[in-house]
């Protein structure tokens, strides 16, 4: 059954605390559900957990989330504790997005070994088990390949029951299967096996490949598929009267035709009416109801949010 639409904004860099506060209040006022902060070690990005705590205090109902934490950058017991602290101090507004880690520049920055996707995803699976274990009542033990937890009764416990929504994002079969088994929200992303948002990654988001990714989630989820909220972070977004012209200008850089680009799972382009129609159509076809855009489009997309959010 189709879930109600909701919308999120992925936050970019800010110059000051007051600018950040004003921006997140504007996002809340425009009807968006969630502020997301990414987790990378390049450019000017804020560190997510600190920024989410600040965003929650600057607002009253806005949910706050990571899109997504790179699992390899922190110990899952530390992640569980920070997320539970934010959940407590925001009165239950965190959504914990976590992925296997993919951007090679992050691994260079931290001087971490960039393991094979299989190893990174296996580690992510263990980390999710550790995080959920830390959030559960009582003491928790875990003896995995990558993490060991010894009778640890983690505190604080989160406010949301049974735990904050876990968002697992990815573009490959293994990680989307993991999302199907473990996540409350599945992020349907480009395949980032190349370690960057390359033409190959964008091409992996063509319409039929996006449908394939959702099928992977469904197969792994089994009966719980209907409980999973499907999310897409649209990287190519514009409210414009010239949908086709824009697509024709942009698509060749990614090796796509204009039509392929417009129908792909990374683009959301057109007038407010066209975008709304497209989102409804994609929810019908793919089941995707949770729509994320960048923070340069908060105002332009506000009419879309006003029309569709909660419907």
């Amino acid at each position: 059954m189709a879930k109600p639409f909701r919308f999120g904004v992925q936050c970019g860099p800010v110059a000051s605390g007051s600018e950040f506060g004003a921006r997140v209040r504007a996002i809340e006022a425009s009807g968006y559900s969630t502020l997301f902060v990414p987790d990378h070690f390049i450019d000017q990005q804020l560190s997510p957990m600190v920024a989410l705590a600040a965003a929650a205090e600057a607002t009253t109902t806005l949910r706050v989330g990571t899109l997504v934490l790179g699992n390899d950058y922190r110990h899952p017991a530390a992640v569980a504790k920070e997320a539970a602290t934010i959940d407590l101090l925001s009165d239950g507004r965190i959504e914990l997005g976590i992925g296997a880690g993919w951007m090679t520049s992050d691994y260079d920055a931290l001087d971490l070994v960039y393991d094979s996707p299989g190893t990174r995803i296996a580690r992510l699976a263990e980390a999710i088990a550790v995080i959920k274990g830390c959030w559960s009542p009582g003491a928790f033990s875990f003896s995995g390949e990558h993490y060991t937890i010894a009778a640890y009764d983690a505190t604080p416990k989160p406010v949301q029951e049974p735990h904050p929504p876990v968002l697992v994002g990815g573009g490959g079969r293994k990680v989307l299967s993991l999302a199907g088994r473990e996540a409350d929200i599945a992020g349907i992303n480009p395949n980032l096996r190349a370690g960057a948002l390359t033409a190959d990654a964008v091409q992996s988001s063509l319409a039929d490949l996006t449908a394939q990714k959702i099928e992977w989630v469904r197969e792994a989820a089994g009966e719980r598929f209907d409980e999973i909220e499907l999310q897409i972070r649209y990287f190519l977004t514009a409210v414009t009267d010239d949908r086709r012209g824009l697509a024709e200008a942009l698509a060749p850089a990614y090796g796509l035709t204009a039509d392929e680009a417009l129908e792909s799972g990374v683009a959301l382009v057109g007038t407010v009416d066209e975008i709304c129609d497209q989102l409804v159509q994609r929810r019908d076809e793919w089941g995707v109801s949770y729509v994320i855009i960048g923070d340069d489009n908060v105002e332009a997309f506000a009419p879309v949010v006003a029309r569709l959010a909660g419907t």
């Binding site: 990005q45 600190v50 705590a53 600040a54 205090e57 530390a78 101090l89 001087d111 937890i149 505190t155």
Partner: protein, 314 residues
């Protein structure tokens, strides 16, 4: 620049029942004149994660400074930490005091499945971490090839608001870590020696005796050289108790910790007595140890406020 040695006070807030309670505590701390709200960093017994909690406290106040007391260096990579700390400094408009220690509590390491290396290794790693943090806070790309961390041409972002960097608060109780603090930090946390890995050990308690505190200050002074006058000396007062009968409490403490009653009262981590006796104790400690920055437990925050009102900024 020489530190003015004027008193200031922090409050230690390791837990909260709710968002409302935590935010009210932060606002009240600011209203009562506390300089800084501190949150500890442990996997066990201390239910708030420091950095998100400090971001929350900063967001609901305007002047209150915020700091971890102290982050365990081994729990996060310094590149991660640099970004988190700088984000907090940016979003709080320059109110972070960056407390960092070598990590010590055995239970933290055991519960999370981390290796607790020898004190020497942990302190060497802390020293490298401080270098990495300062390098990433500074302008431009930073390169470092250490024993524990390797950084290649990384330009840390965001940059903190406080330049060249937020004050470092480095705490410890043994000569090695205090020497490191004296060389690298702006605020020196003079604490128990926690080599046993447990806060409640007799070894830790004995290390707090006044004569031992003299030795710690001597170690800081030796390592700091001419620079000693620039350092702010801080301690965490674990036990604050208002009473007309300090000597009875001193007898009980002395029995519990295996020290003399006089040492129990004079130890820098206890404040027992009337308001006036506390003022006298704090004046004495400042004269003897240059200790002007005292962190009070959350439970004593309100009751201690009259003492604070008389001493803060004097």
């Amino acid at each position: 620049m020489p530190h003015d040695r004027k008193f200031r006070f922090g409050v230690m807030v390791p837990r909260a029942e709710s968002a409302h309670e935590f935010c009210e505590t932060a606002r009240q701390a600011e209203d009562l004149g506390y300089s800084t709200l501190f949150v500890p960093d442990h996997f066990v017994d201390h239910p708030l994660a420091p950095l998100p909690a400090l971001a929350t406290a900063a967001a609901v106040t305007t002047e209150l400074r915020v700091g971890p007391l102290v982050l365990g260096n081994d729990y996060k990579h310094p590149v991660v930490l640099a970004r988190e700390a700088a984000t907090l400094d940016l979003l709080s408009n320059g109110r972070l005091e960056l407390g960092l220690g070598a990590g010590w509590m055995t239970a933290d390491y055991e519960k999370a499945g981390l290796t607790r290396d020898s004190a020497g290794v942990r302190i060497a790693r802390l020293a490298e971490s401080i270098t990495v943090l300062k390098g990433l806070f500074a302008d431009g790309p930073f390169t470092f090839h250490g024993q524990h961390y390797t950084i290649n041409e990384l330009d840390g972002h965001p940059k903190p608001v406080q330049r060249p960097h937020p004050p470092f608060l480095i705490g410890g109780g043994a000569p090695k870590v205090l020497g490191l603090a004296a060389r690298e930090a702006q605020i020196i946390g003079v604490n128990a020696n926690l080599r046993s890995g447990e806060g409640e050990s007799s070894d830790a308690a004995n290390s707090l005796a006044p004569a031992r505190t003299d030795e710690k200050l001597a170690a800081v002074r030796d390592a700091a050289g001419d620079h000693f006058d620039d350092l702010e000396i801080q301690t965490l007062v674990g036990f604050v108790h208002f009473t007309d009968d300090a000597s009875s409490i001193a007898d009980v403490m002395a029995g519990g910790f295996g020290v003399s009653p006089k040492d129990a009262l004079d130890a820098p981590v206890t404040l027992v007595g009337t308001e006036n006796e506390m003022i006298e104790l704090l004046e004495t400690r400042r004269a003897r140890w240059q200790m002007s920055y005292h962190v009070i437990p959350r439970e004593a925050m309100v009751q201690f406020a009259p003492v604070l009102a008389k001493l803060a900024r004097t």
